[in-house]
């Protein structure tokens, strides 16, 4: 179904996930180091990258940043349980979602499909919000007429928030609608993604006007200041 690049240094884990994902109809190629992963990524761009953070040589964070610098390919990172620093650093480096190891192939498959769904088009009109124009059908966001490159999760988050401007959505609602986490998810996914989105669309990310924080509740889009 999807072309998956799995960057995982442990051969057994790599092989296990490869077997499992292949049975879920994905095409899987495995790279056992960050360097090889980047080489394979350039030689044969995948639909999605599944990236172990703890890698010898170039670590997962650096790989994540390099992939992000060159494009919007979705990235799911694999982390060890409870290593909170990993999660935060990985999200800051631009990962779309994370999965805690050990993970069964079916769970990983569900996450992969959820991330990939974010890049599917919706029906809708072109909308204008201040300087931002959003084309839901073409999945294009522009600011002052210039296209803003957004990663799939950032785009999906913006689409979700602009669906009902001015309405506050709490983190759990966003986790369910954007990340398809139908369990108690990690709200840091939302916070990290909001930060990245603000850097791209706000004039001043420290004083956002488009994506506003409602402390203790969640986030809302607008309302935009008059003029």
């Amino acid at each position: 179904m999807a072309r998956v690049l799995l960057i995982e240094d442990d051969l057994a884990v790599g092989e296990g996930l490869q077997i499992g994902l292949r049975r879920q109809d994905h095409t899987v190629s495995v790279a056992i180091s960050g360097e090889r992963g980047l080489d394979q990524f350039r030689a044969e761009p995948p639909d999605i990258v599944v990236l172990d953070l703890m890698l010898p040589g170039i670590d997962g964070f650096a790989v994540c940043r390099q992939i992000r610098a060159g494009g919007d390919t979705p990235i799911i990172m694999l982390t060890a349980r409870g290593e909170d620093i990993d999660v935060v650093a990985g999200l800051e480096a631009g990962a779309d979602d994370y999965v805690v190891k050990p993970v069964g192939a079916r769970v990983l498959d569900a996450r992969i499909r959820a991330v990939l769904r974010r890049t599917s088009a919706e029906r809708g009109e072109r909308e204008q919000h201040g300087a931002l124009s959003i084309d839901r059908a073409a999945l294009v966001v522009a600011k002052h007429g210039a296209q803003v490159p957004l990663a799939p999760t950032e785009l999906r988050l913006l689409l979700e928030l602009t669906r009902s401007p001015g309405r506050v959505l709490n983190r759990q609602q966003l986790l369910e609608s954007v990340w398809e986490h139908n369990y108690l998810g990690d709200s840091r996914l939302v916070d990290a993604c909001v930060q990245r989105l603000r850097v791209k669309i706000e004039d001043d990310p420290a004083n956002p006007v488009y994506v506003q924080t409602m402390r203790g509740f969640g986030y809302r889009f607008g309302p935009l200041p008059a003029g």
Binding site: G16, G20, G82, D84, K101, P102, A105, R106, L184
Partner: protein
């Protein structure tokens, strides 16, 4: 012995005062006696000698037996020569002038009548001291001295001497200064003795509070300094042992953590393919299918055990961190139940709009363990009740199962404690409730277990309420 129960300082001061009073008093008495003796002797010796000399001078002129005139004349002459008031007595007669014979005691008179030497005695007459002297007039023969029957008595007031003795006695009260000085010294001594004692007490108290690096600053080489040095040596020894124990314990914990982490990688590979085994098992028959399902199931159990071990070792090494968020409590509890498909099996009482600031992941872990445990042992009638006081959030998870046996109730939060040894290992990692309690405590809260009235167990989670 109330005295012994008073403070050391009081006892020392009292002791100093007693010693100084005793020594000052003894000195005063001794010097008073000595001075008095000296003063009195200095006045009475000349009087006695004077009388003796005067008698010797007149001895040749005395005719025996003396006439009345001779007695009078002799008394007069002696008064003129030696001073004092003189009376002379012979037979039943006495000189007309001179003091009453009653001034002279019977013992003195007898000494004079039978003896051959001068005797004297101090007596009080009308409250004034008087020196009384008596001597027999002796007739000198070739071999012997023979009493002649003539007695000579003299009395002289000693008022002046007594006054100087009295003045001296009064002056002894200056010893009170010595007592005052003694008190000052006593306080100083008490202070210098008690300071190290106080320091030792304070150090011992700090030490008891767990400040094992507490040491005394030792000065000097007296017994108290020696005590301080002993304290320091003991403290060093204990600190060394404690450090050693802590090191061993830390090693053991690190080993558990390391082992758990090492188990993780092969488990991750196995877990990745458990889904494959499960799917294939459907197409297999007999033992192969059972074996595939067993491996798959036990891989999941092993995963949970390793996860729990890593979580526990994180609490032990105090590296477990709270990631606080503003949480709608009712929503969070409902999510925990919903995520595990328990919503229909548990009756809930969840007030709306109750918020708190806590770590949602850890709350989820606690709820999963408590409700999972209740469902396992308490059948289907599990109740979850959320309530809030001013300062705390309370969540009760109650069941209608058999409850907790009295010998079990104190151990339900122990690691790997299994109330029923017959219960299968697959019931859980054996760490779930221990982890739940650690999570509660990490929030500054508490988790406790009890039996309900009417049967069943109730676990009560109390978390401090940090308002959202």
């Amino acid at each position: 012995m109330g005295f012994l129960r008073t403070g050391l300082r009081t006892r020392m001061v009292i002791t100093y005062i007693l010693i100084s009073i005793l020594s000052a008093g003894a000195t005063a008495v001794a010097s008073y006696v000595e001075a008095r003796t000296t003063i009195l002797r200095d006045s009475q010796d000349p009087a006695v000698d004077g009388l003796k000399n005067a008698v010797n001078k007149l001895a040749g002129a005395i005719q025996m037996p003396p006439s009345q005139e001779a007695l009078d004349q002799l008394a007069n002459l002696l008064e003129e020569d030696a001073g004092g008031n003189v009376v002379t007595v012979f037979g039943g007669r006495r000189s007309l002038a001179g003091p009453e014979l009653g001034e002279f005691t019977t013992e003195l008179r007898r000494e004079v009548q039978v003896g051959t030497s001068v005797v004297w005695q101090r007596v009080m007459i009308d409250g004034s001291p008087v020196l009384t002297i008596g001597m027999p007039f002796l007739i000198v023969t070739d071999e012997d001295l023979t009493p002649s029957g003539l007695e000579i008595y003299s009395s002289r007031p000693m008022v002046a001497e007594q006054e100087s003795v009295d003045r001296m006695a009064t002056a002894q009260w200056t010893a009170i200064i010595a007592v005052v000085i003694a008190i000052v010294f006593a306080l100083l001594a008490a202070h210098s003795v008690l300071r190290p004692v106080r320091e030792l007490a304070a150090a011992a108290k700090r030490w008891g509070r767990g400040e094992l690096d507490t040491r005394l600053e030792v000065r000097g080489s007296d017994e108290l300094a020696e005590l301080g040095r002993t304290f320091n040596q003991s403290a060093d020894a204990v600190a060394h042992h404690v450090a050693e124990l802590e090191r061993v314990e830390a090693d053991a914990r690190r080993f558990v953590a390391d082992v758990s982490h090492e188990l993780r990688t092969p488990l991750a590979a196995m877990t990745a393919v458990t889904d494959v085994l499960d799917e294939e098992a459907e197409h297999l028959t007999g033992d192969a299918a059972a074996a595939a399902r067993l491996v798959s199931q036990e891989t999941r159990n092993l995963n949970r055990l390793v996860d729990d071990l890593i979580e526990v070792s994180r609490f032990d090494s105090r590296t477990a961190a709270l990631i606080l968020d503003d949480v709608d409590m009712g929503e969070a509890v409902a999510s925990s139940l919903r995520a595990r498909g328990w919503s229909d099996r548990v009756s809930v009482e969840l007030p709306v709009g109750l918020t708190a600031r806590l770590d949602p992941r850890r709350l989820d872990v606690i709820m999963a363990n408590l409700v999972g445990n209740a469902l396992k042992h308490g059948g289907e009638s599990v109740e979850v009740r959320l309530s809030a006081g001013a300062d705390e959030i309370v969540i009760e998870v109650a069941d209608r199962g058999p409850g907790l046996a009295p010998n079990v109730i104190g151990h339900v939060f122990d690691r790997f404690y299994k109330a029923d040894s017959a219960r299968g290992r697959s019931a859980g990692s054996g760490l779930g409730l221990a982890i739940a309690r650690e999570n509660a405590r990490l929030h500054g809260g508490e988790l406790s277990a009890a039996n309900r009235a009417g049967g069943g167990a109730v676990f009560t989670l109390r978390l401090p309420r940090r308002r959202a």
